[in-house]
């Protein structure tokens, strides 16, 4: 942004509020090529805004069509029957499942991702840092359907032991009681989502930790701090807001993840007190699973649930970006 500011604005005397429109008009009058090019590039910028607006408008329109016919309360109904004659459906189960699975994913992924970011910036042997970061970049590119296939075929069978152990020792809490059966529950989904969002949180946190001023760390070392104290006193305070926004980017991804949840979860329209019993669902998973047998009205109902998901991810991502934007020195390029 600095670059263009210097190159085009410096020759202009700007005593009053910058008369951008006049300036563009003047330049356009002398150079038709410039006018066309500016029109094209500004046009595509505007097109993006139009698309965003169109997404909101069209989803809302179809959602209103569906919700106006809904006999249950859209927010609190525990059912999804769009084909019955008075259709009764609601998002309570989906909202619960989406939030719970994302929270599990965050609880598992954030500490590990921050630790890996610290590992890459402060602990790993210098020669290994480049290759490890490269591998993590590649893992961020693995398609979600492959994670889903792996989760269903490899992770699920391996979790039986862990679920039994949790049930035996923590079952009394109620959250971790398990009635047996395939471990295709919200907890499994949370673990898989954690694995999937690990690379993005790690990458962004690493970028932040890398920008910690060398002086701060050296000052701490000069005062006799151990490596852990350097991290606690210089690195973490500097990187805290960056880590928070990285986590929220990961959260946004976890909330909207579709295929991995659809392959791993055995869905059911119930809310379990226990995380380990199969059942529940998420917004995205419900859309993917219910879509193929949905009527046109059923599709409108799914669009209505998609609109809720859209709003939630919009809020989460907007908050993450606002935190990043407050720190001007961090560009957020690789997010």
């Amino acid at each position: 942004m600095d670059i263009s500011t210097q190159s085009t604005q410096s020759p202009l005397p700007t005593p009053q509020p910058p008369p951008t429109e006049q300036r563009r008009a003047a330049r356009g009058a002398t150079r038709p090529g410039d006018r066309i090019f500016l029109g094209l590039s500004r046009g595509s910028g505007i097109l993006l805004l139009v698309i965003m607006a169109a997404i909101a408008v069209f989803l809302t329109y179809r959602a209103v069509l569906a919700i106006s016919e809904d006999e249950g309360n859209f927010l609190t109904t525990f059912e999804w029957n769009t084909n019955t004659v008075p259709p009764v459906f609601g998002i309570a189960v989906l909202a619960f499942g989406t939030i719970v699975s994302s929270i599990i994913a965050m609880v598992i992924a954030v500490p590990i991702a921050v630790a890996i970011a610290l590992f890459l910036t402060h602990y790993a042997p210098r020669r290994l840092r480049g290759p490890i970061a490269y591998v993590i970049d590649l893992l961020a590119a693995v398609p979600s359907i492959v994670y889903g296939l792996w989760g269903a075929m490899v992770l699920v069978p391996h979790l039986t032991g862990l679920f039994g152990w949790l049930d035996a020792y923590l079952g009394w809490t109620g959250i971790f009681s398990w009635e047996g059966g395939a471990p295709r529950s919200m907890f499994t989904v949370g673990i898989l989502l954690a694995i999937m969002i690990l690379p993005i949180i790690t990458n962004v946190s690493r970028e932040v930790f890398r920008q910690v001023p060398q002086m701060h760390e050296e000052a701490a070392l000069a005062l006799g701090a151990t490596r852990w104290e350097v991290i606690r006193m210089a690195v973490i305070p500097f990187g805290r807001s960056g880590v928070i926004s990285a986590s929220m980017l990961g959260l946004g991804r976890a909330l909207g993840e579709t295929m991995a949840v659809a392959t791993v979860l055995s869905p059911d329209f119930i809310i379990h007190g226990s995380l380990l019993n199969p059942g529940g669902g998420t917004f995205a998973q419900n859309i993917a699973s219910k879509f193929s047998e949905a009527t046109e009205f059923g599709r409108d109902a799914l669009i209505a649930s998609g609109l809720v998901l859209f709003v939630i991810t919009l809020l989460v991502n907007g908050a993450a970006r606002a935190i990043i934007a407050r720190r001007k020195e961090y560009s957020g390029a690789n997010a």
Binding site: S4, R42, S44, L48, V142, T258, A262, L302, I303, L314
Partner: protein, 351 residues
């Protein structure tokens, strides 16, 4: 000289006692040995439990020993170090498992026949068949999406870097950020709502439109970063020679940053090539070869994986893994080539 001898006789007050360099390895070996002992004695058959016991013993052991010899602060430092290492190893396990399983199970049926035949006459429960129709569909959908998204993305980035200031540019920047976070299924639902309005049946190009929505913000972001790296002196030199601004952008700015822009576009392609959800809603999938993306349901590689998995038959699982391997190979090759170009063409910024 004399200083050294004095230091040898009296313990330095500046530096506390240190454990020898080999001590972490010794503690690690000790805790593994004890863990195996406990595991055998208690008859634990899960190797994971053995590993957990060894890890816990290592952390507590090193804390206790270091706290005795070096003091609490050093001990905490050692615990932090081992926790960071453990976190790293913990994360590596699933990722290695993912890659390993995909390769090991994917190579079973992956051969030239698999790549050049469709599922036209093969039931899900039968062995045989292939992914030709899916590869064809994926290439067409992703190709069309790129044709739409790349120009829009690059032009938007040019607008933001070269022209944009004021309210419009700020809101474009903000909404590009927000668009990056749109779940792929929501992009699919948007196009679906348009299709419902015009009463259309699923076809390949609808999927391309949704993929383009997902691709544009990624292209804008990376192109923007690349354009910002172009030295300002180049622009000023060109403008000072009387070259119009648009020719400066086309002939000076873009050629300088073309490597980075290509990289960004390829990474974006790699990202959308694996998207399943919008394709599921809009293209629907097909067992037959359909080369026309503008009419009729098409297959796609990620969707093929999902549907083969969903059929629940053993031969179908094999095909799903083989298709996953193909997809991962495609995405990884795209990634590596893109990063190769980035390294080769990178503007030298001395970072």
């Amino acid at each position: 000289m004399s200083n050294a001898t004095i230091a040898d006789k009296r313990p330095s007050t500046l530096r506390g006692a240190r454990l020898p360099k080999w001590s972490p390895y010794a503690i690690a070996a000790g805790s593994v040995a004890v863990a195996i002992g406990i595991g055998l004695a208690a008859g634990l058959d899960s190797r994971v439990q053995w590993g957990l016991i060894a890890g816990l013993l290592y952390v507590f052991g090193s804390y206790a020993i270091a706290a005795r010899v070096e003091g609490r602060r050093q001990a905490k430092d050692r615990v932090a170090t081992s926790l960071v290492w453990v976190a790293f190893l913990l994360a590596v396990v699933p990722l290695v498992s993912l890659v390993w399983t995909t390769i090991a199970r994917g190579v079973k049926v992956l051969d030239v026949y698999f790549l050049t035949h469709s599922m036209g006459v093969v039931a899900d429960s039968q062995p045989g068949g292939g992914i030709y129709h899916a590869i064809l569909g994926s290439l067409e959908q992703v190709g069309l999406a790129t044709l739409i998204a790349a120009p829009i993305g690059v032009l938007t980035a040019i607008y933001l870097v070269e022209y944009g200031r004021g309210g419009l540019a700020r809101s474009v920047t903000f909404f590009v950020d927000v668009m990056t976070g749109i779940p792929s299924i929501v992009a699919g639902l948007f196009i679906l709502s348009l299709m419902l309005m015009f009463d259309m049946q699923p076809f390949g190009f609808a999927g391309s439109l949704a993929l383009a929505i997902l691709m544009v913000p990624v292209v804008v972001r990376s192109t923007e970063e690349m354009l910002k790296l172009v030295p300002n002196e180049l622009r000023e030199a060109s403008l000072a020679l009387g070259v119009p601004k648009w020719r400066t952008i086309l002939k000076v700015v873009l050629p300088t940053s073309i490597g980075g822009i290509t990289t960004g576009i390829m990474l974006a392609i790699a990202r959308i090539a694996g998207e399943t959800a919008p394709v599921l809603l809009l293209v629907f999938g097909s067992k037959f070869i359909n080369a026309n993306p503008f009419e009729g349901a098409q297959a796609s590689l990620p969707l093929y994986i999902y549907q083969q998995y969903g059929s629940g038959e053993t031969p179908a699982y094999d095909r799903a893994w083989a298709a996953s391997l193909t997809l991962i190979a495609f995405v990884m090759i795209l990634n590596m080539v893109a990063r190769g170009i980035a390294r080769w063409k990178a503007p030298k910024t001395g970072r």
